[in-house]
Symmetry: C2
Subunit: 234 residues, 2 copies
DNA sequence: CGATTAATTGATACTTCTCAAATCCTGTGG
DNA sequence: CCACAGGATTTGAGAAGTATCAATTAATCG
C-alpha cells in the first residue's frame, strides 16, 4: 500500500454513484482534503477481518472481494466491489471489528476517508446519513437473497446464478469475457462448494455451449440458459 | 390485526434496547402520539414480502419470524425478532419493496410508527440516524455469518448452531424448554434442509442426550456438546 | 525456462434428499 | 369432554448430489 495519484473528489466521476453524492461544495472540499489516495496491488489485502478500521475506502478504480473465514479457515466470498463502492463502513458504523477481509482482485486505487470525517458528515448532513442507510439496507436485502439461495439451491443452480452476478458486477472485456480474473477456487468460495465441483460444472456448461472458457477467462454465451438453470427471477 | 392496548413510549421498558433510546423527551412524546398499537394473533402475517411498508413495527411483546420465499415457494427463515426489535425498516430505508415476510410466532403486541415520523427523526436527530445505522450494520454482519455457515457447514453443524441461536434469542421457559413453538418444518427452513433431516438429527441429538424432546418442545441439555458439534466460536 | 500453483479428471464414499407409509398430535366442533 | 379430521412427526429405503482423495496435466509468474 503506497500513496497513489491524488484524485479530487470534486471532479470524481464516480461521486454520483456513491454515498457522497449529496454533499454540498464545502463538504466535498473538506472530504477531498482530508482523504488519502492509496494504491493496492492485485492480491493485496486492503482491510483485515478482526481489525478495527479507522475509516472507509472508496474505490476509485479496480476490483475487490469481501470475504470471511469460515470453519477450518476456508474462505467464503460474500460479495464483490468495484469503482464507486465503499468498503469497511459496516464495521465503522456498527462499532464492531471487521467481520470480513477485503482483498484487491486487481491493481486498485482507493481513497481513504477517516472515521472522524465520516461521523462528522453523519452528524451534520442527514441526507448523507440517509444515503448510508440506503446503502446498508440494500446490502442487507442482497444478503437475504444470498442466504435463501445458499440454503435452497443446488450447487449447479448457484453456479449459474453467480456467473450472471459476476457479469452484472464487472461486465465483459472487448472479447466478451467476464472482466475479472478469478481462480476456480475463488468461484467455488463464492458458490460455497468444492473447487472440483465448480470445474466439473463449468465443463458441463461448456459442453452445453452456455459458456466459453479460455484458461481463466469465461464468456457467457447463453445467458438465458443460465437464467433458466439458476432459477434467477430478479 | 386490531387495535391493542395503548402503550406509552415514555414508559416502555424496552425503549433502551431499541433505536429510539436516544430520543429526547419531546421527540419521544411525539412518537408516542403518532404511533398505533396493534395486535397480531399467532400465525398472522404482519408484513408481506413484495409490498411497500408505510412505517415500521416495534415489537412490544411476542415473537416473529422474518422469512423469504425461495425457489418453488419454499420458505427460508432469515432471522427471528422479539420485544424491542424493529421490523420493516430495511425496506423503508432502502426505498425498496419488502424483501421478506414477517409472521407472528406468538400473540404479539406491536407499535406501528409511520414512515413520515421515521424520516423526520432521521432528518432531525443524527443520534437516531446513527442508531439505525448501527442496527442495520450489525444485522449485515450477522447475515455474513449466516452466509458463511450455510455455505460451509454441514446440516448437522447448522442444526446444532441454530438450536443455540434459538436459545440465545428466546431463552427457556420454567421447565427449561426453548421458549418458542416452532414446527420441525420451520426449524428445517431456518437450517436450510429437509424436514426429515431435521427430525433424524434431532433424534440423534436426543439419543446422545444433548437435548430433550417433548412434543414440539426442545430443551438443550448439553450446550457445550452442541457448541462443539456446531463449531460455534463466537 | 523452471518451479510452483492452478486446473482437470477419475474413482469412491458419504451426506442429504425424496418418496412413501404409518403413527401421532392438535385444535375444533359437537 | 370427547371424537375426529387434518396436519405434523416419524421411520425406512433408495436415489441423487457433492465431497474427498489421488494422480496428471496445464498454466502462470518470477
Amino acid at each position: 500500500m503506497k500513496e497513489g495519484a491524488p484524485i479530487s473528489c470534486e471532479f470524481c466521476g464516480l461521486r454520483d454513484l456513491s454515498a457522497f453524492k449529496d454533499l454540498d461544495a464545502t463538504e466535498l472540499h473538506v472530504v477531498s482534503h482530508v482523504k488519502t489516495c492509496v494504491f493496492f496491488k492485485k492480491g493485496q489485502v486492503m482491510m483485515h477481518e478482526g481489525s478495527r478500521p479507522n475509516g472507509v475506502y472508496c474505490i476509485h478504480n479496480g476490483k475487490a472481494k469481501i470475504s470471511r473465514l469460515g470453519t477450518e479457515g476456508k474462505e467464503q466470498i460474500l460479495r464483490f466491489a468495484k469503482g464507486g463502492d465503499l468498503m469497511g463502513y459496516r464495521s465503522l458504523l456498527s462499532g464492531e471489528n471487521l467481520s470480513a477481509t477485503i482483498t484487491a482482485l486487481d491493481d486498485t486505487h482507493a481513497c481513504f476517508v477517516p472515521k472522524s470525517e465520516m461521523f462528522k458528515l453523519i452528524e451534520e448532513n442527514p441526507r448523507f446519513s440517509l444515503n448510508m442507510m440506503k446503502l446498508t439496507c440494500h446490502e442487507l436485502g442482497e444478503a437475504g437473497k444470498l442466504i435463501t439461495n445458499l440454503a435452497q439451491k443446488s450447487v449447479r443452480e448457484r453456479l449459474a446464478e453467480i456467473l450472471l452476478i459476476i457479469h452484472r458486477t464487472f461486465g465483459e472485456d472487448e472479447e466478451g469475457f467476464l472482466d475479472v480474473s478469478l481462480t476456480r477456487e475463488e468461484i467455488a468460495n463464492m458458490v460455497g462448494t468444492a473447487t472440483e465441483s465448480v470445474i466439473r460444472l463449468l465443463s458441463e456448461f461448456k459442453d452445453d455451449q452456455y459458456i466459453t472458457v479460455k484458461g481463466r477467462k469465461i464468456a457467457l454465451e447463453d445467458k438465458n440458459a443460465l437464467i433458466r438453470i439458476g432459477n434467477v427471477y430478479d
